[in-house]
């Protein structure tokens, strides 16, 4: 029996504190892969008590000597699986970055040395992004290359642009194959035509990689169209999700429904341009014109929140659209259990885990075709993000025709079974094996 492949995973966001989908995705995949590979994961910041079985986690916020001795220790079985969401972290999206050209970072062979104290400060900051993100990326890249001398691995697996420079440097230094995992693109966050620093880093990372793993076919097409990467080396890997077994996902209060009961539509996510909040307002207006007993709940925060509040006021929809603000996990679950329809009007969504999670709660979902979720959830109602007429028609139907919502949710429960991290891990593994042969 051949030995398990040894993987060096370069991550950034990771539980317990998460700002978006990247953390849970990296965690889910790494955990599922641990059955099949020997994995060392390097993060800028790590909380020691958050362990993952069979995975060596190195947090750069710890001292280097500690890091090196940690490697040799076997991980015990204490596993902490709580993921917490921090409101403040959400406000740093999308990243506003300095315009300094940083391509040297990618092509230079020099190591960026920073002092121990500076490193500890840098990686202990609460915000693992922030305005000094490029400095963090440079420090991360340098440290990873230093550590590489003492690590044994067959393949480098880098998650999203922040780790690509480290991945590229490592590949040049060690000649090991590089896999880049694409959870997001700058062309989604900003604009399909944007060609800024982060775009360049993404492009170089994907060009140099031996395998590019986007989280959907949608993202694959974006990569081909906007970055010019050859299709042959791009292999989509759908995210899984962590099924919530702890909460009663059956919606309460359905038995004694009256026709007059007020219906709840939920939008859950960052209030930022990529998520299509302005289209949501347009859809809402069309829905309210025909339906009285409905309210739309916007759960989340972000750079466009105040603009959206302004639009709601301007359109006199204050009593129909509710801003819940940031919600913790328990509050989200409670809201989901009372939701009648879920809307995800994203302009460009690589995956869209929130839709998958909502689907668990037997909620009919109306989602944008420009999303990865649309590919894994065929039994949802899908429309182009700009087609607010259709979105409104679908919301109306989901809220008023139980025969429709029942059929959608029944069929979706079956689809959800195929969306799991083990399936993703096995797809990733097949790519590893391909590269090693």
């Amino acid at each position: 029996m051949s030995a398990k492949p040894k993987i060096l995973t370069l991550g950034w966001e990771f539980p317990p504190l998460c700002a978006g989908g990247l953390g849970p995705a990296c965690y889910g995949l790494t955990k599922a892969l641990s059955r099949y590979v020997d994995n060392t994961l390097i993060l800028p910041r790590h909380e020691k008590k958050f362990k993952v079985r069979n995975v060596t986690i190195i947090g750069l916020n710890h001292v280097v000597s500690e890091i090196l001795s940690m490697q040799s220790r076997k991980m015990d079985s204490i596993i902490s699986e709580e993921i917490n969401w921090d409101e403040e972290l959400f406000s740093s999206y999308p990243l506003t970055l300095p315009r300094k050209a940083i391509q040297q970072l990618m092509i230079s062979e020099t190591r960026h040395h920073i002092s121990k104290a500076e490193r500890e400060n840098l990686f202990s900051e609460k915000d693992i992004y922030g305005t000094n993100i490029m400095k963090k990326v440079a420090a991360y890249t340098g440290l990873v290359c230093e550590l590489a001398d003492d690590l044994d691995f067959d393949i480098i697996h880098a998650h999203d642009w922040i780790t690509y420079s480290a991945g590229v440097q490592l590949k040049r230094y060690t000649n090991k194959p590089l896999v880049v995992h694409v959870h997001s693109l700058e062309t989604d966050r900003v604009h399909p035509q944007s060609r800024n620093t982060v775009y360049e880093i993404e492009r170089i990372g994907m060009l140099e990689a031996d395998r590019v793993l986007p989280v959907s076919n949608f993202t694959k097409r974006c990569i081909v169209n906007h970055y010019g990467i050859e299709e042959r080396k791009i292999a989509p890997v759908y995210n899984g999700y962590d099924a919530d077994f702890n909460f009663n996902t059956r919606r309460t209060g359905q038995k004694f429904e009256t026709l007059k009961r007020e219906k709840k539509v939920l939008f859950l996510g960052r209030i930022t341009a990529q998520k299509g909040p302005e289209f949501l307002i347009d859809t809402a207006k069309k829905l309210f014109a025909k339906m009285d007993n409905v309210k739309i709940y916007i759960a989340g925060t972000g750079d466009l929140k105040s603009h959206l509040e302004y639009l709601v006021s301007k359109n006199k929809l204050n009593n129909k659209i509710v801003f819940t603000g940031f919600l913790n996990k328990e509050d989200v679950k409670k809201l989901l259990s009372e939701t009648d329809a879920y809307i995800m009007p994203s302009v460009s969504e690589p995956f869209g885990l929130s839709a998958v999670e909502a689907a668990q709660f037997n909620i009919p979902c109306v989602i944008s075709k420009q999303s990865g979720a649309a590919e894994v959830l065929p039994n949802t109602l899908q429309a182009d993000f700009w087609d607010t007429d259709k979105m409104a028609n679908y919301l109306f139907a989901s809220l008023n025709y139980k025969s429709l919502s029942d059929t959608l949710t029944e069929k979706t429960q079956v689809n959800l079974k195929d969306i799991n991290w083990d399936s993703a891990a096995r797809t990733v593994l097949s790519n590893y094996i391909y590269l090693l042969n």
Binding site: K286, K290, N379, N393, A397, N400, Y401, T407, K411, V414
Partner: protein, 419 residues
């Protein structure tokens, strides 16, 4: 003697348009005129006209020995009249040869037998009158929508005066017996059943152009040879299929018209084989056994049951809803309202809502004018939403008259002593 009996279904529904919720209450036009016209023209040019021409040629060539039958739905006839009257002309020519039988069915190609016997009868009568008007015939053989059949239907239809009906030869009820004889229904006398030979029928209708099929290509020689193989062990060989097989499901390029052209001649090469219409089969052959079908079968899908139309909740609810409006619609007495309502009973509407071939998201398996079964259901429900309020408005108008009637009966009841 073994007789080949051809029956062809001719049907086009009035498809409803992409009726969005914002039109509820403001637009009462449900039909997709453009799409229906476009499809009718396409099928007329690819199938009905050229195939009718070929059939006429064959009848003349074989000097009246080649026989066929059709069932043409009322809604198809209406659309021919509206958009392509020459199609009716070509069917008339065929009927006038005396070699072509027209069967009876529900005018609106509906599932009404299963939901409202009253409506079923009304639709059958309406169709009967229509074909009488158009073709001058009085059908005596019945065919229910999509060959939906069971013992109860057989009983009912025979009581309506028909002498037989066509249905699917379903294995689980045939139980190793052959469909190639005439059967009868338990307890129903003077009523004969013609069972479709699905193997041979589907060889033409579905497998004809399938290059992966072990018997591809199907020539008329080959097919006639298979038919002749039943000599001595069959009295009728019932080939029932959608007429659109010729030119639409099987394109001209597949050679389907050449196949059709040579087929009768090849069948005739064996002296013990001929062609008969369903009526002729019924007159010639006695029922050889009982075909006991306790619950509904059809010619649809592998299951050959009703699941194509009422399997999921969307279908079940839509069917329940449309028939729940029957009483109010008929009470209004308004011809237009009744006609609109009846058009919404056409089986196709529910067929489009089927999720049987949809669940894994493979769009190539889903055939309908809509993008998904969900879209089909949403537009149908939006239409019903609007239609229902129209119906309610009409019943409010008659309310005043009814109110007094209700009061009267209430006072009358008060006087009744409790035993």
């Amino acid at each position: 003697m073994t007789s080949v009996c051809f029956y062809f279904q001719v049907h086009q529904p009035f498809r409803i348009r992409n009726y969005n919720f914002d039109q509820i209450g403001s637009s009462h036009f449900y039909e997709d005129f453009e799409k229906n016209k476009e499809i009718l023209n396409k099928v007329a040019d690819k199938c009905y006209l050229p195939t009718n021409k070929k059939m006429l040629e064959l009848i003349e060539r074989h000097q009246g020995k080649f026989k066929i039958s059709y069932s043409i739905s009322g809604v198809a006839l209406e659309q021919f009249e509206e958009y392509r009257p020459e199609v009716i002309g070509s069917f008339k020519k065929l009927v006038d040869t005396g070699c072509v039988e027209i069967l009876s069915e529900t005018y609106y190609h509906s599932l009404s037998f299963l939901y409202s016997k009253q409506e079923f009868e009304r639709q059958v009568k309406k169709h009967y009158n229509k074909v009488n008007d158009v073709f001058g015939v009085s059908p005596s053989v019945f065919r229910n929508t999509e060959l939906i059949f069971d013992n109860e239907i057989a009983q009912y239809v025979s009581e309506m005066g028909f002498k037989g009906m066509v249905c699917e030869g379903v294995d689980r009820f045939l139980m190793d017996r052959t469909p190639n004889f005439v059967y009868e229904s338990p307890g129903v006398s003077d009523f004969k059943l013609l069972l479709k030979n699905y193997k041979l029928s589907d060889d033409i209708a579905f497998r004809f152009s399938n290059k992966e099929w072990k018997d591809y290509p199907l020539t008329s020689e080959k097919f006639a040879h298979w038919v002749h193989g039943h000599a001595g062990d069959a009295e009728c060989i019932n080939l029932f299929m959608d007429y659109e097989t010729f030119g639409e499901h099987q394109w001209k390029e597949t050679g389907i018209f050449e196949f059709l052209d040579h087929l009768p001649g090849k069948i005739f090469t064996h002296p013990d084989f001929d062609f008969k219409t369903p009526s002729e089969v019924i007159e010639t052959f006695p029922a050889r056994d009982i075909y006991d079908v306790p619950y509904a079968t059809s010619w649809a899908d592998a299951e050959r049951d009703l699941s194509a139309w009422n399997e999921n909740k969307m279908q079940k609810y839509s069917l329940h809803k449309i028939y729940s409006l029957e009483k109010a619609v008929k009470k209004s007495g308004k011809k237009e309202l009744i006609d609109t309502w009846a058009k919404l009973t056409t089986s196709d509407h529910f067929y489009y809502m089927s999720t049987k071939f949809w669940s894994d998201g493979d769009v190539h398996k889903y055939f309908s004018p809509y993008n998904s079964p969900y879209d089909a259901h949403i537009f149908y429900m939006n239409v019903l939403n609007d239609f229902e309020s129209t119906v309610q408005k009409n019943s409010v108008k008659t309310f005043k008259g009814r109110k007094t009637a209700v009061r009267k009966s209430k006072t009358a009841k008060k006087g009744v002593a409790v035993a």
